[in-house]
């Protein structure tokens, strides 16, 4: 019976494709292997249901397709069967939901020892900022944005002066150190997306969003924008480099602070203030 066979082959083919196709997730680079495990659980449960439903359907088509003299059963309902199927489905759903919620709890609970870095999106490039020696990021506002202050840092905030500002460069992170990635946009929605990190979050103008990760292996990873942000959305790229401690500090030494990048402005401001007296 050709139709039943083709239906069955669709199910079997899908499973074989799943097992043998070369396209699978990228090797993970952060602590979020939990997310991969949850996806695997979901694949097992949904894969079982998919094959079971289609195999049953194919069998029905094979066994009960019209022949001369066949007459269908009259079978309006079967409360017991319907209840058992509902309860079974409920159990399957719970088996996926429970680990999902547990991992979500971890995902939104940032460890206390996480250091902060800031990623800022704008059409169509990335900027990064690290807290300086004081360990705190200074405040910022889009209204402060000027050619010599592209991230809009607050000049009157002492914490901002020693912040490390990276424009048009790559972000470095230290392997094994939990990091809270603060996300900010100055124009439209963007989304800081590194496939190997698994975590991602939109960047929304007027808000600061975040996620946290602990990098678990060194390497260079592509940063893409995952939220449509206009004409050159597809070209909004950068790289994240996860380093060992020594290389990380060597790189950090070479970066410029906010005060070093725009000292001239500080002088102008001082003049202005004294002139106002």
């Amino acid at each position: 019976m050709a139709v039943a066979l083709i239906l069955l082959l669709v199910a079997i083919g899908s499973v074989l494709f799943h097992i043998y196709s070369p396209w699978w997730w990228t090797p993970i680079a952060t602590n979020w292997a939990y997310i991969d495990h949850t996806i695997n659980i979901t694949f097992w449960i949904t894969g079982f249901v998919f094959v079971a439903v289609i195999a049953f359907m194919a069998y029905c088509v094979f066994r009960f397709h019209h022949k001369e003299g066949r007459r269908a059963d009259y079978n309006p309902e079967n409360k017991r069967l319907e209840w058992w199927l509902s309860v079974g489905t409920g159990v399957g759903v719970a088996a996926m939901l429970a680990p999902g919620l547990v991992v979500w709890h971890q995902f939104v609970t940032v460890p206390a020892d996480a250091t902060e870095v800031e990623v800022m999106g704008q059409q169509w490039q990335w900027s990064f900022r690290l807290p300086g020696k004081d360990g705190r990021l200074g405040t910022s506002d889009v209204r402060n944005i000027a050619p010599d202050n592209p991230m809009g840092l607050n000049r009157d905030d002492a914490h901002a002066q020693d912040d490390v500002v990276i424009e048009n460069g790559d972000l470095h992170l230290q392997v094994g150190k939990p990091v809270k990635v603060l996300l900010r946009s100055v124009d439209v929605l963007h989304d800081f997306y590194v496939p190997e990190f698994r975590a991602k979050m939109d960047m929304v103008p007027g808000m600061v969003t975040y996620f946290w990760i602990t990098p678990i292996r060194t390497g260079t990873f592509d940063v893409l924008c995952a939220e449509l942000c206009g004409a050159a959305h597809y070209q909004m790229r950068a790289k994240v480099i996860v380093d060992e401690e020594r290389e990380y500090h060597a790189w950090l030494e070479q970066q410029k602070t906010f005060a070093e990048l725009s000292p001239a402005r500080a002088v102008v401001k001082a003049t202005y203030q004294s002139g106002g007296k």
Partner: protein, 592 residues
């Protein structure tokens, strides 16, 4: 219902509707153009939706050409690519599927299936179509205005939707919002009609629990649409004000092309909440009519009552209600309050239970049936496979933390195309093969139909099933070109090319279907009034195609539910809803 004893009913006097209740056309114009007959309006809705849907189909070919063979077609640039995806999505979801299921199938089937002469408000029903047509024309006009249509993505997220970094910022977005506003006005007029007709104009004996599931699906979807579309309406009006008058409902302080803009104080997330408060019910506004129709296709062609009718009705109602409290699962990575994740993941996965019940009951209807593998049944089987596949991948995306790596990738594109693109289209096509004989009095060609089914079903599956794995790999959606990355292997580009070739093939094969529709109109085999030997009222009309007023002098009286197929002891394997018990007894007597 099944458990009502027929013996006590001794014959109910048929209800007569006085002639004055109907508007009678007096000229060609009022009969075929400004018609107030729901059947004509249904055909007008269907043809308009199909026409604009074909535009969206062509847009998908252009997108696939770019994705499959990047850099080959110089006439597609990055701006146009975004315009194509935006218009494709918006047309398919709203102007094709919503309009076709509710305006098309709703108008044709509701009055016939409930045993009414027409919709309750025929004049408003006519207005509904003309406002819809205007909305379609305004939308189509954006292809010809300066700057072209908007390229903001079908979700139209501000701030970018109305800023200068996005194509179509001048005219495209303004006309898009205007068209949506018109569509909602038009839909509301039609939708109120469908609801009131189902509630007030059912014929004698047609209790709610005797309604065919098609009517239940369309009715529930219409109620949902009446509650959900207002959210899109206000969002459209507010976005239009932000764009035209410089208000800041959705616009915080921001920099536009290096300059501090005049906006400030608004919230981009507010738009997303309003959009998805409409947008998620919208998925079920498309799905529930499909659920209902496919139930009737399966039951009729398997010659068996739908299994668990009452559970099926309550599942439709439960899905409809639940779908209003799951919207933020589209926003897990939007930056909204993270604790929402627990609530919305739980509600979203709970919807899987009534939905799964529907799937079980469809396949259990096949069990010990007498399955006629005619074209409508084939499409119903294709629907079950694609819907189960798309529904199950929904469990990935609904489960908040699993959504984090997959959101905004091709996995999402594959998921929603499978579940609310391919699956409902399978039902639309199956339904057209099923009801075409009633609309035209002629059968569609069976050989062409089978060819059309296999190419469309297998092709669509080959397009969207492998696409999930691109998303798993991390390939982002809405990308004009993938460029150089370290994580996308060259084999992924080959897969993209393969998908594009299949997509073009499936697209072009629809010509066979269009040919079949046109050819059979004149040359198709005459169908008679009830070619599928179905029980529901639309097959029992005195004329085929049904005349003005549907029922001749007397309205039908309903004695039984819609699924008396293969009733033990009855001579025929179906008993129409309007067949009195005594007539059935006679048949039984003759058989024994």
């Amino acid at each position: 219902m099944v458990d009502i004893p027929y013996e006590g009913i001794e014959g109910i006097p048929p209800a007569e509707v006085p002639d004055v209740e109907l508007y009678h056309p007096r000229s060609w114009w009022t009969r075929y153009v400004f018609s107030q007959d729901a059947k004509v309006i249904a055909v007008q809705y269907s043809l308009t939706a199909t026409a604009i849907g074909l535009v969206a189909l062509v847009l998908s070919w252009l997108m696939r050409l770019q994705l499959g063979f990047p850099g080959t077609f110089s006439f597609i640039d990055a701006n146009q690519y975004l315009q194509f995806i935006t218009m494709h999505g918006m047309i398919m979801v709203i102007y094709l599927l919503t309009a076709l299921f509710l305006g098309g199938f709703g108008n044709y089937l509701i009055p016939l299936m409930v045993g009414a002469r027409d919709m309750v408000f025929p004049y408003v029903n006519m207005l509904s179509y003309w406002v819809y047509l205007l909305a379609v024309l305004v939308l189509a006009s954006t292809f010809f205005v300066p700057g072209g249509p908007t390229g903001a993505g079908w979700t139209l997220y501000p701030p970018q939707a109305i800023l200068s970094g996005t194509p179509g910022q001048d005219w495209g977005i303004v006309l898009m919002m205007s068209s949506l506003i018109l569509f909602i006005i038009g839909f509301t007029m039609g939708g109120l009609n469908y609801v009131v007709t189902v509630l007030q104009a059912r014929t004698r004996g047609m209790t709610l629990m005797r309604l065919p599931l098609t009517v239940w699906g369309i009715f529930t979807a219409t109620v949902m649409a009446l509650l959900a579309f207002p959210a899109l309406f206000v969002a459209s009006v507010m976005l239009l004000l932000d764009r035209l008058l410089g208000t800041s409902f959705f616009m915080p302080s921001l920099v536009e092309m290096g300059q501090l803009s005049k906006y400030g104080g608004g919230s981009p997330l507010l738009f997303q909440h309003l959009f998805w408060f409409f947008g998620h019910p919208e998925v079920y506004i498309v799905a529930l009519p499909a659920f209902g129709i496919v139930s009737d296709l399966i039951s009729t062609h398997a010659r068996k009552n739908i299994f668990g009718y009452r559970m099926m009705v309550w599942a439709i109602v439960a899905i409809g209600a639940l779908s209003f409290i799951v919207w933020a699962h589209h926003m897990y990575v939007s930056g909204m309050f993270p604790q929402f994740g627990y609530f919305f993941a739980t509600t979203t996965l709970i919807i899987a239970i009534p939905t799964a019940i529907k799937v079980y009951n469809w396949v259990l209807t096949l069990w010990r049936g007498d399955i006629h593998l005619r074209v409508p049944m084939l499409f119903a089987l294709g629907f079950i496979i694609t819907f189960v596949n798309g529904g199950l991948t929904g469990l990935f995306l609904g489960n908040v933390v699993v959504d984090v790596p997959l959101s905004d990738t091709m996995f999402v594109v594959a998921h929603f195309h499978m579940v609310m693109g391919v699956a409902p289209i399978m039902v639309v096509l199956g339904a057209i093969y099923h009801w075409y004989p009633k609309v035209t009095g002629r059968m569609l060609n069976d050989t062409l139909g089978k060819f059309h089914f296999w190419v469309t079903f297998l092709g669509a599956y080959l397009i969207f099933f492998p696409m999930h794995y691109l998303g798993l790999l991390g390939v982002p959606r809405r990308y004009f070109e993938l460029g150089d990355t370290s994580f996308i292997p060259s084999s992924a580009y080959s897969l993209n090319a393969f998908i594009s070739v299949v997509a073009l093939t499936v697209g072009f094969s629809q010509i066979v279907f269009l040919f079949n529709l046109a050819w059979s109109l004149f040359k198709g085999e005459a169908s008679g009034g009830n070619p599928w030997r179905a029980t529901t009222l639309e097959w029992q009309t005195p004329e085929t195609p049904p005349g003005h007023g549907n029922w001749g002098k007397e309205l039908p009286v309903v004695y039984r539910w819609a699924y008396d197929y293969s009733v033990p002891g009855a001579a025929e394997d179906f008993i129409p809803q309007n067949q009195p018990p005594r007539a059935t007894q006679l048949v039984q007597g003759a058989a024994s």
